[in-house]
Symmetry: C2
Subunit: 401 residues, 2 copies
């Protein structure tokens, strides 16, 4: 066995970044520290107490009294796939409200499950029109599941979930909600909505590294899983087996080796979010996003989404004519250490996506980005009034005090 | 929204443990530190360099020149499921060599995929008899895949893989190898074996926290995936899509948000393993395991597996008659901070599993465990000659010194 030399430095540094893309966001120092704790066994009684605490804290951020909660050992996409794989059997009908890139990902996944997929496509950048769902559900004798995304990360739209849930319930369908970008930054009301399955991710508004998907499951969804004719196609994401490990039925049955450090990180992220106070945290996200919008508008950069439907976590802005997407993003990254996101799907090359989530939702980051844009955009042929963006954002921050 | 008070302490401590179970093992301080690095975007060009390095280091520990490598965003079980889901289509025949608990997990997963599963069951605690495979393959016109486990964590057997691979190749079948417990602690020779897909886990002999599954894939396996009639049932574990993100085809296409901190941890764990030197690392694992066996035998605790087939990473020992499994394990945990593992499946309650993997493979931990056993076992009715285990282990360490 020959081995060439290893790269020399003992621990090459990861460059520091201000992460204002669609996630991962910056991670809180307390959460980073939590991961430094010593390793512990995944069946250790002291670790079980930690898992109980995580499940309890998740109920609070999901605002649920009765849902079963846990964190799946995968990213947000694993939470999406787990819902579709566990709630659908081949041939089941699922009606999917489609208004962005991540909605389309759901179509792909549900098709692989062998479900009868009914995609209801509406415009990107606007909330999904509820009447489309109502009309479609009337056409079917039995719909097993309706899916929607609370905060479409590709478009920046905040979708009202309550009315979709009411329509789904009226037609005896389960409702699955994507809360990847909303949990911890926006009010997520699992019980009030009447959701049956919701999933999120750790790296957006919870201030943790990516790698886990916190989920909430209603009693009706658990009943539906119990009544399956065959087990889900995925053993790794089998929610019944995973629930047994998380103690949903009282005991703890080994499933797979839990990602201990990520669970310790999540616990700290949740404690920090709840310590800040959910209403205060939502208000912080809203305040900073409002300042960002004001600043961008002062630079002539228009938001895709009408103000009343805009997410606080992610702001989607049109790239001005003649400006090349990647050139600006590279300049921001290399010149200022700031990451923002590009567009996905039909928005690729046409928009930037600016995330202000969790630890990244800070007034100073809003101002840093606007300053960097003011200095960078003219280099690429787009003239702006120097200082206009920062001034508008500062005013907005002051007026909301 | 009412909220009861949070638990008071800002960061409750995780109790320190000597982890001598089947994993997670103790994590190297350098690896813990690596996770403290700042977050970075999963499409950041500087992060791409880190991913390239991880893929390259993985080729070295898998001892492969040409395999494609990456780390999946899930635990070792995700690596198992990814292999079966991507290499099998419904109706494909898979012949599974079964000689332990984790082999049976493969049967469950492959059944969910809809494959024609042919389990070849042999005794637990002994290597799988190769002639069984040869005889079975002769009965089929076309077998798509043969599966085997290099290091069965439930039994402690080291399975020779080369001969199984030769037989599989002779019958034009792909070979999938579980290297969860072997990679980094035992010689894993992906190319020399002629394996087509191998997967491992970060929390065993690589000294990292659990949460990722490093995989290696041969050109033949990639061809087989290209020729699928339909995509794999799992989008999250679709190896072709994941390979595109890891740059297997030259470019980088977004798939899901990579677990950045875990990848930073894995990089450091791999650098540390290769820095120690693979032959030196294997020798360390063998030396400490040998000392452990000598000590256990001196206490009258017999190993399940004959010496010549024993794994260095995990030693499976019979629980003496009349001694209650959990009482002893609880005493070790609560009295000495030492975790050892219990039995799984048909070995439940009958054996203990002692892991000496990665950071946990240390002479001082061997001596600590033997001392603790010498003091604990008499409390539960099993008399031992005090000091006999430690003396035998010390002698073994000296003679190999």
């Amino acid at each position: 066995m020959t081995q060439s030399a290893l790269p020399e430095s003992a621990m090459p540094a990861v460059p520091p970044r201000i992460l204002l893309g669609p996630g991962p966001s910056n991670v809180s120092p307390r959460v980073l520290q939590a991961m430094m704790q010593p390793m512990i066994g995944y069946m250790d009684p002291d670790f079980m107490l930690i898992m109980d605490e995580v499940a309890e804290l998740l109920k609070r951020v999901y605002q649920s009294g009765d849902a079963k909660t846990m964190a799946l050992s995968g990213t947000g996409s694993a939470g999406m796939e787990a819902g579709l794989t566990n709630l659908l059997e081949p041939g089941d009908t699922v009606v999917m409200c489609i208004y962005g890139f991540f909605c389309e990902r759901m179509v792909d996944m549900a098709t692989r499950v062998g479900a009868n997929v009914v995609p209801l496509r509406a415009d990107w950048g606007r909330p999904f029109p509820e009447e489309l769902l109502e009309a479609e559900l009337k056409r079917h004798s039995k719909v097993k599941l309706v899916t929607a995304i609370h905060a479409e990360t590709s478009t920046g739209v905040r979708q009202p979930i309550g009315e979709l849930a009411r329509i789904a319930k009226a037609h005896d369908a389960l409702l699955m909600v994507d809360a990847v970008t909303s949990l911890g930054g926006n009010e997520v009301s699992f019980d009030d909505w009447g959701a049956d399955y919701a999933y999120s991710a750790t790296q957006k508004c919870l201030g943790c590294p990516p790698g886990m998907s916190p989920v909430a499951v209603s009693e009706q969804a658990i009943d539906a899983m119990r009544q399956r004719k065959q087990p889900p196609m995925s053993w790794y994401l089998d929610l019944s087996l995973l629930g047994n490990y998380w103690g949903w039925e009282g005991q703890r049955v080994y499933h797979h080796t839990a990602p201990v450090s990520m669970i310790l990180a999540l616990r700290e992220g949740l404690r920090q979010a709840l310590g800040e106070g959910l209403p205060e945290r939502y208000a912080r996200h809203a305040r900073n996003a409002h300042a960002l919008s004001a600043g961008l508008e002062a630079l002539g950069l228009g938001c895709i989404v009408p103000a009343e439907h805009r997410l606080a976590q992610i702001t989607v802005v049109s790239i001005p004519d003649g400006v090349e997407d990647m050139q600006v993003r590279q300049r921001l990254l290399r010149g200022y250490g700031i990451e923002i996101g590009g567009g996905l799907g039909e928005f690729a090359g046409k928009v930037w996506r600016v995330g202000l989530m969790g630890e990244s939702s800070k007034a100073e980051y809003v101002l840093a980005l606007l300053s960097a844009l003011e200095r960078s955009l003219p280099e690429f042929g787009y003239e702006v009034a120097a200082g206009a963006g920062v001034a508008a954002a500062s005013d907005a921050l002051k007026s909301e005090g």
